[in-house]
Point group: C2
């Protein structure tokens, strides 16, 4: 492999390790939920690194962080990159982080090589790519793209009933107007996100770089079930309206809808399942489910979605359990920009790195950035395709390759006036 | 109704209200989990009331509280009564409490009437009748009766992995030896527990008092499931080993086992169901279930238990999920003492209160006290048969009736030398 830029892999690995240590749970687990103490400390850590690199920092009302390397012609639309640093409970250290600290390393390598960008280059650290707190993913990028209405944003509540408004206020972003988060059209000329694959293909085929042509169509449902509680010894079986059992049938119906959608790419997951009161001798009176359904094809995704939305009332009627079913989001797939896909492919070729064209099955901020500017993603392999687990892993060499391709791509895009 | 003893219903109601206010959750919810701050404060509250009544107080190594009114002949085996003050999350104010504060009121009324017991009367406030913390009910009375081995007690862990040894130390009981909790044979001549029915029969038939002839056979299982996690977008359906879905099938199998046991009295409940990591975009890698199964008949209970224990490995094998299945307890039914059942019936008759002979479907400390001394229970009606919920309710009059029958029964038993 040809390596032209002074990418400092050791520095990058050290910073990945330092960021991983900022977690609500002990190592190797990384847990950084939106606006938790760990999330806020992680933001400070990354902003400090950006300041040390001489970059300017701005934050918007929802906590998206914009880190800018000002180009020679600051009147031109910017070249953007970025990802997220929030992490679901019991996660690993690379998801999102590689696209933030890796992009920062790409910028530092370009700076150190003497490169002077024509267009400004902006690193965006998106708020809450993960849906942990509000059940909706890509909160920051949705709002940037205008893909989430302010009414819907105002109605978001976390499991404890706290609103986005309250939580962003507590986190120090309350002084700004949420209306101003949406970006003006033409703000960016392009967006390229570096990310671990979160799937097994690159590793299996031993290819160092993927470039994303399409991002799968995701959707998220929330189901709240209310049955009738009571003492587990005293309420006889025919008199029961058990919210957990209704939830169990719904989770199994989600699996069936995904398995029988007609497409092998449909995946359905009940990832959140909480019950109340949660005591062994008490009939569960309430259940709270969050369901994730995705596909590379819109028709099969929507078919499975319909099946689930039919199953919920049927199951609840049979069990005498009431339900509230919300579509937290139902998004279309994103098509990536062919000229950006080519730019990444050529950057890889110049560096002597094979590049595979891919579909992203996971959700990314790129899904929403694609709504407002030409977008693509650079993937690197991760061990076993594993993600959202403490044993998530990409090697220093794999990460360095991704950073090199990102840096070369940014250099191309920022030179172009 | 004939009322001979000066039972102060107003005082008792005020104390029930004051105790209900000591809770980890805001009113009307009562939540007092073993050795939580609320549980410890509630213990202090009750001990203070007992001190005010001039009674002696002792505590053992697991936190059982023994409140004694010393009789004329303190060499005789004692007459005992009592119940518990711990409460499951989101519970009400009467379960257990009526048998503690009601018994204290019975003792005060007997004191104020000038009655002098021949035998000492002991009010026992049992530690952790509710299984919330360790998944095993009647912790205190099991240890008193020698029905829980010290090895098993030492192996108990709460969901955070804390041991009984650690928790009782933190609660201030660490200085005593757990071995000494088991009572010497013949310590008590009888035990009578006052309790709300937790079922609808007394209310439906408009009968003020129940006397228990038999307590149902309870059992508790814990199932820990380990599947394979991963990103909800990236792991295709055929490659999944979803711990939640295995748990969902097990919960439904519990329901089927209870429904098809051959007895209408078999009840099966999955009351605890937790998953990890619990993020919408992550395949659940672990699940933790606690299952409660009871019956008035041992053969049908054991048949259902066997079906569940067969279903767990089948479901897990099919899904490629590993499991650990523990029997936390498998208890036989308790047969109450006929002469005590008669004593309660006669006390009711003297007071002009109809008494119904009943089966207790719920679990009680009496189940274990019956292993070491003649035992029965006095039931009073509760609205709608509801228990383990904040709207649990028995009227002041219903409670007063129960206290009157308890007091008259204790007087009979303590006069008998």
């Amino acid at each position: 492999m040809k390596q032209t830029l002074p990418i400092n892999s050791e520095r990058l690995q050290r910073q990945i390790d330092e960021l991983a240590a900022i977690s609500a749970a002990p190592a190797p687990v990384v847990t950084r939920v939106l606006f938790s103490e760990a999330d806020l400390r992680a933001r400070e850590y990354v902003k400090n690194l950006c300041r040390e690199a001489g970059l300017t920092i701005q934050e918007d009302a929802v906590g998206n962080i914009f880190v800018r390397w000002i180009g020679k012609d600051s009147s031109l639309p910017l070249v953007a990159t970025g990802s997220h640093i929030d992490a679901i409970p019991n996660a690993g250290r690379y998801d999102g982080v590689v696209g933030v600290l890796g992009a920062l390393e790409a910028i530092r390598a370009l700076q150190e090589s003497g490169f002077e960008p024509q267009r400004s280059i902006e690193l965006i650290i998106f708020t809450a790519e993960e849906p942990t707190r509000f059940g909706i993913g890509c909160l920051g990028s949705r709002l940037l793209a205008g893909a989430l209405s302010l009414e819907k944003a105002a109605s978001l509540r976390d499991p404890e009933g706290k609103s986005l408004e309250e939580l962003r206020g507590d986190a120090g972003f309350g002084g700004q107007d949420l209306k101003k988060v949406k970006l003006a059209a033409g703000s960016y000329s392009s967006f390229v996100e570096l990310h671990i694959e979160q799937g097994p293909l690159l590793e299996k085929e031993n290819i160092p770089i993927g470039v994303v042509e399409k991002i799968a169509a995701p959707s998220t449902l929330r189901v709240q079930l209310t049955g009738v509680g009571g003492h587990a010894g005293a309420v006889l079986m025919p008199e029961r309206h058990d919210a957990l059992l209704a939830g169990a049938e719904i989770a199994l119906a989600v699996e069936q809808a995904a398995l029988n959608s007609g497409s092998p790419d449909t995946v359905g997951t009940t990832g959140v399942f909480r019950i109340e009161p949660g005591a062994v001798n008490s009939v569960p009176c309430r259940a709270w489910l969050e369901i994730d359904l995705r596909d590379t094809q819109l028709p099969t995704r929507d078919g499975a979605l319909k099946k689930i939305e039919q199953a919920v009332p049927e199951i609840c009627k049979k069990r005498g359990v009431t339900f509230e079913l919300q579509r937290l989001n139902v998004d279309a797939p994103a098509i990536c920009d062919p000229s950006l896909v080519n730019a990444v492919s050529e950057a890889g070729r110049e560096l002597g790195l094979e590049v595979k064209k891919m579909i992203s099955r996971a959700y990314h901020d790129s899904l929403f950035m694609a709504q407002i500017c030409p977008t693509t993603m650079i993937f690197i392999p991760c061990r076993g395709g594993v993600s959202h687990r403490p044993d998530e892993y990409s090697s220093p060499e794999q990460i360095k390759n991704g950073v090199a391709v990102l840096a070369a791509t940014l250099a191309r895009l920022a030179s172009n006036s």
